[in-house]
C-alpha cells in the first residue's frame, strides 16, 4: 500500500499562548509539536505498511520549523517526506490547504491518505475531507479501526455516545483518524540516525500558488474574550417577575 500521512505542526498543548502585536495570531515563540491526531494517523500508516507492505510518505505545509514533524515521522519509520515550505502555508484556510496539498502530490497516486480528524490549533476538521473532494476520491471521518479487505477497507467509525459504525469503502480513499486508535511508538536512536538520509522533497510557494483559490483567508483580529458576567435582578410580585423573565429569555437572551 502506498500511504500518505498529512501532518500539521501545532503549538504545544500547554504552551502559554500570547497574541502578536497586530493581534492577528499568536506569537511565534512557543514550542511546537505534531498535532496529536496526526501522530495517531502516522502510527496507523506505519502499522498498515508493516502488515501489508508498501511505503509511507509524510507531508506537511508550513514554515521551515515544521520540518521537525517530518523528521520525527521519518525517524519513526516513514520512508520519505514532502514539505510545502513557506510561512504563508500556515495561514491558509482548510480549502486552500487542501488545494495546496493536492497540487503537491499530483501524479503520486496514493492508495490511502490518512490525517488527523482535526488540528489542535484551528480545529476546523475540514482539510482531510476537502482534500478527498479535490482529489475526487471517497473519504470517511473519525476512524478508530482500519482493516484491509480484498477490494477496499473495512473501517470502524466513532459516533456519539459510545456508538460505532462499521463501513466498507474502496481505495484510494482519505481517512481522518481519531486520537487513541493505537498506541504511539517511540522513535529509536537508529531510526533518528537513518532519518537523516531519507529523502525530503521541498515544494515552494511559487509552484503551488497558481492552484490556490484567489479568495484568501485573512485573520483580522484575534482576542481573548473579556469576562462578561452580568447579573440582572427582576423584582416585583412573582407572577409579574415570571412574565418579565420569560420576556427576557425570549427577546434578549434568546434562550427560548
Amino acid at each position: 500500500m502506498k500511504i500518505l500521512v498529512c501532518i500539521k505542526q501545532v503549538p504545544q498543548k500547554d504552551a502559554p499562548l500570547r497574541l502578536n502585536e497586530q493581534g492577528t495570531w499568536i506569537r511565534d515563540d512557543v514550542s511546537w509539536e505534531t498535532n496529536e491526531p496526526d501522530a495517531y494517523a502516522l502510527e496507523e500508516a506505519l502499522r498498515q505498511k508493516e502488515k501489508h507492505g508498501g511505503e509511507v510518505t509524510a507531508l506537511t505545509a508550513g514554515p521551515a520549523r515544521a520540518a521537525q514533524v517530518l523528521r520525527e515521522a521519518l525517524a519513526k519509520g516513514a520512508d520519505r517526506a514532502i514539505h510545502l515550505e513557506d510561512d504563508r502555508f500556515a495561514q491558509l484556510d482548510a480549502g486552500n490547504t487542501a488545494r495546496a496539498m493536492a497540487a503537491a502530490i499530483a501524479g503520486e497516486n496514493f492508495d490511502l491518505i490518512v490525517t488527523g480528524l482535526q488540528s489542535d490549533d484551528f480545529g476546523a476538521a475540514q482539510t482531510g475531507v476537502l482534500l478527498a473532494e479535490i482529489l475526487g476520491i471517497p473519504h470517511a471521518t473519525i476512524i478508530i479501526g482500519i482493516e484491509k479487505a480484498e477490494n477496499g477497507l473495512k473501517l470502524k467509525r466513532e459516533l456519539e455516545a459510545g456508538h460505532y459504525q462499521y463501513i466498507e469503502m474502496p481505495m484510494p480513499a482519505v481517512l481522518t483518524i481519531q486520537s487513541g486508535i493505537n498506541k504511539l511508538r517511540y522513535a529509536t536512536l537508529i531510526g533518528i540516525k537513518q532519518a537523516k538520509t531519507k529523502p525530503m522533497r521541498k515544494v515552494a510557494w511559487a509552484e503551488i500558488e497558481g492552484k490556490l483559490s484567489p479568495h484568501m483567508q485573512k485573520i483580522e483580529k484575534l482576542y481573548v474574550p473579556g469576562s462578561q458576567k452580568q447579573t440582572k435582578k427582576i423584582e416585583g410580585p412573582a407572577a409579574q417577575a415570571a412574565k418579565e423573565l420569560v420576556e427576557y429569555l425570549k427577546n434578549e437572551a434568546r434562550a427560548l
Binding site: D14, A15, K183, R185, A187, T188, L189
Partner: protein, 561 residues
C-alpha cells in the same frame, strides 16, 4: 551503532565540546585528506524533548569562551542586551542600602544578558550543521563499564545506556515498550549539568570527590516578568544581598533587564542552610514582597518559572575530571565561579578543552586516561584556572555566616584567593541542617523563608502556580523517577528529626506528606511536577533520594528562559 564519542547532555558545555570537536576534525581533514576522520560516529544525547528546553540560567554570558569558539558570534547569536549598568544593594527587612561601588567581581560591562534556552538552541543548530547528531528525548540512564573495577586506574567507561521507554507505573512494559539502547563509545563525555545522574554514579563508584571538599550547591529560582516601561532598562543588572535571608544563610537575588519591558528575576539560596523548614521558593517570594522588588514588579505579569541547582564549590570541590574512556564537563564538574555568579563561559571552555583531548583519542585510537589526561592539563594551563584559583575559598568562607564570609572575601581579594592558614574545607551542605529540636525557640527573623509560600496570585505565587508556568510535562503512566530508598524512614525518623524537609526544599511541590489510608501520614511523590533541579538528591539529610531520569522528553519546558 558504536560511537567514537558520546556527549551526554546538550547544554552549553556539551554544545561547545561538540562544536570544537567538529572544528578540529574539519581542520584535520583539510590537511590530511588521505586519512580523514569522520563525524558520523559522534553523537549527543539530550533528555529534553527539544534542544535547550532544560537549560536554565539567569543568564549573563561572559563572551570569552564563545569568542574563542566562534569568533564574531555576536553578529548572529541570540543576545538580548549588552550590560550597560550594574548596581548592588543590601536589603534590610525595611529599606535597602546601595553599595557605594560595585564590587569588582560583579562588574558586568561587556557581558550579555541572554536566554540560555535560546542561546543553546542556536548552538544546537550549529552542532547539527557541523554534522553531529543530537538525539533529543534520550537520557543517559546509566554508564556502561568495560570491567567491574572501582579503581580509577583500572576502571573504564565503555559508553552509556539510554532510558527505557514505554514502561508503566508498576514497572511493566507497555505495548509500545522500547528498551534502552546500549550506546558503546570509545570516549564518553559527561556534560549533564549539576548533579548529573550518570556523573553522580561515576563520582561515587570511583570515589572522585575529596571528602574534605564536598561539592556545595545552591538552588536558583527564576521568573520572567513583563513590567511597565521605565523601571529596569534593557541591559541593566541589579544584585541584592540580605533580606529575606538572615546572616546565617548564603544567597542573593538578581534582576536582569532583558528588554525595556521584560526582566529576568531570581534568587539563589545556598543549599547549606540550618533550618530544615527553609523553602528557597518562599525565599524568592518574600524577596518579591520587599518594597525594593515590589516597586519593580507591581502591575507587571509573571510569564515563566523555573528552578535549578548549581554547584558553588569552585576549584577546591572539583572532582577528578578524566579517566579511562571518560571526561566530566561544566556544572557536572564544578566549573562555576560563585563569586562572579557565572559558569556558562567556564562550562563552554571545559567542553572545548575536553574536545581537544577527545580529538587526540580519535587520532591515536587511545582513549585511556593517559590521553584524556591532556584535558586536565589543559584546564590547569588555561584561563579557567586563572579565574577559579584565586576565588577557591570564596564560598567556603561563608560557611559560618555572612559577616565572616564578607571579611574572608575581602582578605581573599587582597591575598589573591589565599586565607590565613590552609585552604578552607567544607562538608556536604546537607550536613549543616539541624534537627528540629536543635533549632531552639522559633526565630521570627526566619518567618519569611521557612515553610511554603501561599502567594497572592499577583506578585507572589504558591509552588503549583509557578510549576504551571514552567511548562513541565511527564507521562503519568511511568515509574516514579524520584527513588526513595525507605519510605518508613520518611514517615518515622525524618518526621521526628527534621520534619520532612523535602516538603520545603522542592521548588515544584513534588513531595507531600499526605494522610494515608490507614490514618497516619506518608510521603506522596507527585513526580509529574518535577522540574529536574536535583535539589532533593542533593539536600535530603539521609541521602536516600536518588533522582533517575524519567522517560526521555519529559520535564520542564524552559523556552525563552
Amino acid at each position: 551503532m558504536e560511537a567514537d564519542v558520546v556527549i551526554l547532555g546538550g547544554g552549553p558545555a556539551g554544545m561547545a565540546c561538540a562544536l570544537r570537536l567538529a572544528q578540529l576534525i574539519d581542520a584535520h581533514n583539510v590537511v590530511h585528506p588521505d586519512k580523514p576522520l569522520t563525524k558520523e560516529n559522534i553523537c549527543m544525547l539530550e533528555k529534553s524533548r527539544e534542544v535547550g528546553q532544560h537549560c536554565l540560567s539567569g543568564a549573563l554570558l561572559d563572551p570569552r569562551a564563545m569568542r574563542e569558539l566562534l569568533p564574531g558570534f555576536e553578529k548572529e547569536a541570540p543576545l538580548d542586551a549588552e550590560v550597560t549598568k550594574e548596581s548592588v544593594y543590601f536589603l534590610m527587612a525595611k529599606g535597602q542600602r546601595k553599595f557605594p561601588i560595585v564590587p569588582p567581581p560583579l562588574r558586568d560591562h561587556g557581558n550579555y544578558v541572554i536566554s540560555l534556552n535560546k542561546f543553546v538552541k542556536w548552538m544546537g543548530q550549529k552542532v547539527e550543521e557541523a554534522g553531529i547528531t543530537i538525539f533529543t528525548g534520550f537520557a543517559g540512564s546509566e554508564l556502561l563499564w568495560a570491567n567491574d573495577s572501582t579503581d580509577w586506574d583500572a576502571a573504564r567507561v565503555a559508553g552509556v545506556r539510554t532510558d527505557d521507554k514505554g514502561v508503566d507505573k508498576e514497572g511493566h512494559p507497555k505495548a509500545n515498550f522500547e528498551p534502552g539502547y546500549d550506546l558503546r563509545a570509545k570516549v564518553t563525555i559527561l556534560a549533564e549539568g549539576t548533579r548529573g545522574n550518570c556523573a553522580k554514579a561515576l563520582i561515587d563508584r570511583l570515589g572522585l570527590e575529596d571528602p574534605e571538599h564536598a561539592q556545595t550547591y545552591g538552588q536558583g529560582i527564576k521568573e520572567l516578568w513583563e513590567i511597565p516601561m521605565g523601571r529596569v532598562a534593557k541591559g541593566e543588572v541589579i544584585y541584592t544581598l540580605g533580606y529575606p535571608l538572615t546572616s546565617r544563610e548564603y544567597g542573593g537575588a538578581w534582576i536582569y533587564g532583558v528588554s525595556d519591558t521584560l526582566i529576568s528575576v531570581g534568587y539563589v539560596t545556598g543549599l547549606d542552610y540550618q533550618d530544615p523548614r527553609t523553602d528557597p521558593h518562599h525565599v524568592f517570594q518574600s524577596f518579591k514582597e520587599h518594597p525594593f522588588a515590589r516597586r519593580i514588579l507591581e502591575g507587571g505579569k509573571m510569564i515563566r518559572y523555573g528552578a535549578k541547582s548549581l554547584p558553588y564549590g569552585g576549584w577546591l570541590t572539583m572532582p577528578r575530571i578524566y579517566g579511562n574512556g571518560w571526561m566530566l564537563l561544566g556544572d557536572s564538574a564544578s566549573f562555576l565561579n560563585s563569586q562572579r555568579l557565572k559558569g556558562i563561559h567556564l562550562a563552554m571552555k571545559s567542553g572545548m578543552l575536553a574536545a581537544e583531548a577527545a580529538f587526540k583519542a580519535m587520532l591515536t585510537g587511545d582513549s585511556s586516561a593517559g590521553t584524556l589526561g591532556d584535558y586536565k592539563t589543559a584546564v590547569n594551563e588555561s584561563w579557567i584556572h586563572d579565574e577559579l584559583w584565586p576565588v577557591r575559598n570564596f564560598h567556603q568562607g561563608f560557611e559560618h555566616g555572612r559577616i565572616e564570609g564578607m571579611v574572608s572575601a575581602a582578605i581573599q581579594q587582597i591575598m589573591r584567593g589565599g586565607v590565613f592558614g590552609p585552604d578552607k574545607t567544607n562538608p556536604p551542605g546537607y550536613t549543616c541542617m539541624r534537627r528540629i529540636d536543635d533549632l531552639g525557640p522559633s526565630d521570627w527573623e526566619r518567618a519569611p523563608i521557612v515553610c511554603n509560600a501561599k502567594g497572592d496570585g499577583k506578585l507572589t505565587f504558591d509552588r503549583l502556580t509557578d510549576v504551571f508556568h514552567s511548562g513541565t510535562r511527564h507521562d503519568e503512566d511511568q515509574p516514579v523517577h524520584l527513588v526513595v530508598e525507605d519510605l518508613n524512614l520518611c514517615r518515622e525518623r525524618c518526621t521526628r528529626e527534621y520534619g520532612n524537609p523535602c516538603q520545603y526544599f522542592c521548588p515544584a511541590a513534588v513531595y507531600e506528606m499526605a494522610e494515608s489510608e490507614n490514618g497516619g501520614r506518608e510521603l506522596k511523590i507527585n513526580f509529574t511536577n518535577c522540574v529536574h533541579c536535583k535539589t532533593c538528591d542533593i539536600m535530603d539529610p539521609y541521602q536516600i533520594i536518588t533522582w533517575v531520569p524519567p522517560e526521555g522528553g519529559g520535564g520542564p519546558n524552559y523556552d525563552g528562559m
